[in-house]
Symmetry: C3
Subunit: 141 residues, 3 copies
């Protein structure tokens, strides 16, 4: 018999480049440890609509491939191709974020992230160089 | 110490056009209010496989950009390009929905949707002009 | 008043082909039955980063369309187009998995998957011919 607990934390990021992939797995693990929750689910989501949280491989060649591929299917320039870019220049970032996703939901088992052997959690930034947040919410016991 | 509660509701839509983006944030907030749940998670998912629930910006220029972009990467016509279109004409809608996603999971904190400043929840219709549903499920306390 | 329970199971797959879509809806239903959980949420996620869990239609024409479409937007060959393919040949599988998604979260109501009429749960394999896993985690009551 388990009784529900909850936990909330914001993680802050400010990347040097417009686009970046940041491995946040250890930060998320720290949240679970801090929460004391042993069984449940954790939601990790970008709080901004030009960024992603996603799970994939921590391999620099692959991250290069993501960058090239996202630029092919949702190119940054020319800015004039997008209606959203009247007063903005980040329409492509909204599109890229849809491909990569807003959030990851991960199981917590025995007080740990229940991930496969190569699964790592990333913050995907598509319109950076400013302060942006990721929300971590845990429910469980 | 929290004890778990749950809540379920269906939201109905019937758009005038084949494709549409409908801001459902207020309807989802009403569900949370009705549920009385203060801490937990809310799942909002399309119950149809040619529609999406996703989170992005409520800006008409961007919605135009989504429409143009989705038509570029998964065009509606010619219908004959898709095997699914033997007796149907909506294969493109199944593809578009994969790009935009089926569901959003959002944290509930202090009885409210725990969203970033520009996050709004949308129903994305890709094969409309008929009654279709979104499921809202909340678990928490 | 509900008190939280949790359940965990791994499902194993080994497809004959590099790419495949496997309907796992019945296996997921069996997990819910086994768990005894009547109200809650179920997370079903690929534990590998070259595979997906997604919800769409169980229609062979559509699955053919997915295969053709994913090859168009993230082609397998030439392998040399991807930096990840130094010692690997599966960069395309990492990209395809981002389009199709890692996980599905589904409501459980009255002890059943709370799905729309045509929603079916699939394991999407993009780099198969070996043992790979899907995680099923349920929390609820």
């Amino acid at each position: 018999m388990l009784v529900m607990k909850s936990y909330r934390k914001e993680l802050w990021f400010n990347t040097n480049t417009r686009r970046a992939f940041v491995n946040i797995t250890h930060q998320v693990e720290s949240c679970i440890h801090e929460s004391g929750i042993k069984e449940g689910m954790i939601l990790i989501n970008a709080m901004h609509i030009t960024a992603s949280v996603f799970i994939n491989d921590d391999e620099s060649g692959l991250h290069h491939d993501f960058e090239v591929w996202l630029e092919k299917i949702a190119p940054e320039k020319p800015y004039s191709q997008y209606h959203h870019n009247g007063g903005e220049d980040n329409a492509d970032a909204h599109l890229k974020r849809q491909v990569m996703g807003r959030e990851a939901v991960v199981a917590i088992t025995d007080g740990k992230l229940d991930l496969g052997p190569w699964e790592q959690i990333f913050y995907g930034e598509f319109d950076g160089k400013r302060n942006k947040r990721v929300l971590v919410k845990i429910i469980g016991e």
